[in-house]
Homo-oligomer: 270 residues x 2
């Protein structure tokens, strides 16, 4: 099943738009992992198993693994998700972007090496840099549009023919790059007005929405401004607010409760 | 010594603007590496040792290692360059870009894990996404400006207040982001006119120029349009045309000759 089909099925069957972001930071792990040489994998696995019921997707952020030299833990984590929680797609959050011949290697990294179902990519290098990802029709290609960070507007808000750059990106992705129907957009929760504008351009394209929780995005505004007509269309990602909901031995229960509560809050406004 | 200082010293002392790109593709390795489990490291090491005399920098492209799961080979390769060829800086070509908290992990990946002297980054997420790299004042931060691929113009050429986006990026990097004097720009060799325009904006900022050789950039036009007043300012990168100059047992000699010839061609027009 393709990423987009799996996502839509999961939205319906599990009645959730919550994406659990997996950003391991060993300094924030509960004390029980202090002497565990396999802590990165073990912590993330416990979070995955505790939150799976409420997850429409899992999103490992690759920098957190790469800085630790924990590629093997990432490989095993994604294999665990596929084996223990089939039907929940995995988004590798790597924001890659390079010329076509190199982009093929990044596509191999995401889809063949790590077996992710979707990947985040950066559009700055243009369509041919994204094409090796787009060509994998069963995989999801989630293109950065309007990101959630304070400096997002430095480039993304620059006006091109009277419209901000991020809207130009939304237009290209939705109406030029989506020939295989496997595209989605990253639009940060910290910018509800922009979410509304991008929804107006992008039709029913799924949005990956980071920035609720630790970054302060308003869930109600996100859902009201960006849901599709059927009350889906969103992959609302929370990482730190779920992962580090408790630093005690109850971390898994606390993560589960944080994911459940986020689902409930989202569903109130769908 | 900082990256920029090491680069300037190398330009002068070795009289070369050639950067040797390290993009290992095992299918293109000479037959002697066919049964070598350590082929990625061994091939790149042989190329490095053969071409060092003519190199102002080495540039490993991380996707080529990541697709193969060859992180350990990359670590050892950079350690080998530092040990065997001190004074030649290493640019990790990874084109990272993410929100600030994640960018810190990418900076740790490049500078602490791999011990690179400089890294390529993508500006689409804005200044705060680049700040964790900029804060490492001794390290080089090489920002994508106008890339060498055919689709580069899809975003980079869009007009903002009458000037293409890549010129806005050049302006920001040269005049806002370069507070520590550690910035450089990526400007592709395939666009000599753009090189001239960016030089006019960016003063003496070093340019990393990919796209000569396999991608067809014209060396004379690159050098004439983009050198600084002292005849330097350029890191002219060639990867495939050097690495795969011969597929026979003479691959190292052929790589050395390709690097030497590129230096000579460049120096003719400085």
């Amino acid at each position: 099943m393709s990423f987009i089909a799996a996502l839509r099925q999961r939205w319906q069957q599990a009645d959730t738009l919550v994406c659990v972001g997996l950003d391991p930071e060993p300094a924030r792990f509960p004390a029980r992992f202090a002497d565990d040489a396999d802590a990165v994998f073990a912590f993330c696995r416990d979070i995955v198993d505790a939150t799976a019921e409420y997850a429409c997707a899992f999103k490992p952020q690759i920098a957190h693994f790469a800085a630790l030299g924990a590629e093997h833990a990432l490989t095993r984590l994604i294999a665990h998700i596929h084996a223990a929680h089939p039907g929940i797609p995995v988004i590798l959050d790597s924001k890659r972007g390079d010329i076509g011949s190199t982009a093929q290697h990044y596509a191999a990294e995401a889809f063949d090496r790590y077996r992710a179902d979707a990947v985040t990519v950066n559009p700055y290098l243009g369509r041919d840099s994204v094409q090796p990802f787009l060509d994998r029709a069963d995989k999801g290609v989630i293109v950065l549009c309007r990101t959630s960070n304070p400096g997002a507007g430095d480039l993304q808000d620059l006006l091109v023919h009277g419209r901000p750059l991020y809207q130009q990106v939304a237009q290209k992705v939705a109406h030029e790059w989506n020939a295989h129907g496997n595209c989605a957009l990253v639009v940060g929760a910290t910018w509800p007005e922009q979410l509304r504008e991008v929804r107006g351009i992008a039709g029913d394209l799924p949005f990956l929405v980071p920035g609720v929780g630790a970054q302060g995005g308003d869930v109600e505004a996100v859902v009201r401004n960006a849901r599709t007509a059927d009350g889906t269309g969103l992959i609302v990602s929370s990482s730190r607010a779920i992962l580090y909901a408790s630093s005690g031995d109850d971390f898994a229960d606390a993560a589960r409760e944080a994911a459940r509560a986020l689902r409930e809050t989202i569903n109130r406004y769908r």
